[in-house]
């Protein structure tokens, strides 16, 4: 007996159905992980002259940071469209939070919430690269030493460079000074942008101030350890390693309109008055948008 066959009454019915969304099957995920491990074991991945390892960043470092970004701090990104999709640009942001978590969150924001998935190449103090593990890992994440040579090389190569001109003055300031910008270094970042003719994108980060509220600074301990400050927060060092857990503050990261520098010409970097003025302009823009973001935020934790 021939098998019963179902004859569709409307043959085009099947075609109008949408195919299932192309979600990665778990088999594919396992295969990807194994392929990643194979690459890591045989060294078949690319790194650049700054030590940036995109393979490790995409498959390990960014996935580790994403839960912190999305769940813990619930970061909201605003104005990502102000960051150019191609070519060099200098993202200048305020710095806070005792540990440079804000730089990592800005990296995730620009990679995940920018249409061009831009990679933020961070600039760090020499102390970062002096430390074992931290220094090597920072380079693999795409960071390099904050010096004129490296900034200009990255910008001319068309990279997006992230700089925190306040440096240790910003990140290590006491909690009572939260959201007041400190001195912006010596304006080296402006000179670098002028020399390479790349735009400056001001960036304001709200939320990082509250992750480790620094209520004291143990200067003697800092001097002994060779650190610029030794933070005392309500939980550290009181609760030991548990004190390293950041408080789950609500974060807002806003990118402002880019300030173009190309029209000044590369020689303008030799004009200190212009450099000072531009530095002040960037600083005031960031301070202004910090106040605006603070008004938007209902409370520290929501």
């Amino acid at each position: 007996m021939p098998e019963a066959r179902v004859i569709p009454l409307r043959p085009d019915d099947d075609e109008t159905r949408l195919p299932p969304p192309p979600s990665l099957g778990w088999e594919q995920q396992v295969a990807d992980v194994l392929e990643f491990l194979r690459r890591r074991l045989t060294g078949e991945y690319d790194t650049d002259e700054f030590g940036f390892d995109p393979d490790l960043t995409d498959h390990v470092l960014l996935p580790l940071l994403r839960p912190l970004f999305a769940r813990w701090f619930r970061v909201e990104t605003q104005g990502a469209e102000h960051v150019p999709a191609t070519g060099g640009a200098l993202v200048v942001a305020n710095h806070s939070g005792t540990l440079p978590v804000d730089s990592l969150m800005a990296t995730v924001a620009l990679h995940d919430h920018h249409p061009a998935q831009r990679r933020l190449r961070l600039l760090g103090a020499d102390l970062v690269f002096d430390m074992p593990f931290v220094g090597a890992l920072s380079r693999k994440l795409g960071a390099t030493l904050a010096c004129t040579e490296d900034v200009e090389r990255l910008l001319t190569e068309g990279e997006l460079v992230g700089v925190f001109p306040e440096g240790f003055k910003g990140i290590g300031k006491p909690f009572r000074d939260r959201y007041t910008l400190q001195r912006f270094g010596r304006g080296g970042f402006v000179s670098a942008a002028l020399r390479t003719g790349t735009p400056i994108v001001p960036c304001a980060i709200v939320g990082a101030e509250e992750i480790y509220p620094m209520i004291g600074n143990a200067r003697t301990a800092a001097r002994l350890l060779g650190l610029p400050y030794f933070p005392i927060t309500p939980t550290f060092p009181l609760l030991g390693p548990l004190g390293l857990l950041p408080l789950p503050s609500k974060w807002l990261i806003a990118f402002g309109e880019p300030i173009e520098t190309a029209s000044y010409g590369p020689d303008a970097a030799e004009d200190p008055m212009l450099v000072f003025n531009l530095t002040d302009q960037v600083r005031e823009t960031i301070q202004h948008s910090l106040y605006q973001l603070l008004l938007q935020r209902r409370s520290v934790f929501t």
């Binding site: 179902v6 569709p8 019915d13 991945y45 030590g51 074992p132 040579e149 490296d150």
Partner: protein, 368 residues
Amino acid sequence: MPPRVVLVTGVSRWLGGALAAELATDPAIHRVIGVDTVPPSPALLRRLGRTEFVRADIRNPMIGKVVTTASVDTVVHMNISATPAGAGGRAPMKELNVIGSMQLLAACQRAPSVRRFVLKSTSAVYGASPRDPAVFTEAMQARRVPSGGFAKDSQDIEGYVRSFGRRRPDVDLAVLRFTNFIGPRIDSLLAGFFRMPVVPTALGYDARVQLLHEDDALAVLVRATTGHFAGTVNVGGEGTLLLSQAIRRLGRVQVPLPTSTLGSVGRLTRRFGFVDYSPEQMRFLNFGRVVDTTVLRTEFGYAPRYTTVEALADYARTVPPVVSPALVAGITERVENAVRRAGDVVEAVGQRLHPPAPAPGLRAVRDA
């Protein structure tokens, strides 16, 4: 005008011998004189061709007589030792490097025939520290002046060569700052390091490494000797690798050890004739060093044939891997297949427990 009489110091080492052999094949060059403290190996001697070998110590004023009597017009100074192991200790190494170079320069200054001086220097003059920019150009200087060892010697030698240039402005100086050499034949510091099956490195650090293939090194030396370039140039392959990455690519096993224990490991490996972990070498292995090679490609006019990755791959042909890529690929494939099989089983069980939704055609029947 090509050189007529070329003097090459350090001719018994691989690179010096290869350069002398290459120059000897050029009919435009009348004489090639090779100088070294030790005679070349028989195999090298055969390759040297019409090169005249002079066994002389450049620390000895006799070198001056060789330069003047042969009326040498081009001097290639390559007799700079990078490790204390090769020279028989740090004190003889420094004497050979610094005093030897001074003697040679003194002899050249007295010889009116000398028109060109080529120095095989090193990118180690830039030092290696966390305070350095990622990429060095020729105009940059070490942020942290090397305190001793090869880098300090090389800096001193470059200084003496520059002052020689001031005293003899008619002599063209070419200072070649080479990155680390690698290749199947050359005996370099890093080649010895990578030859160990288990490579101890500093825990928590990973250096950026830029390599130069031996063939490119030779080509650059020949061009510097016979060409017209005057000045300082960085010589390195394009691209970089991380130290850990290079070790993995060679199928070596990396053993990260705390920095404090590496000193004793170094003493042990040195005793067995491997590599030494001098403090300077350690700094390089921790932070690495990359140079900008724009001047090499534009002004000097040479583009290295091998990139860093290709040079390492060429060297890898000569060292059998401990962990072969085929083995790793085989294991990952087997794991993947096992996982897939397990997945199929789980899926089959799942299908039996929760039968799939009725086929779409039935809905059409119902609708009708």
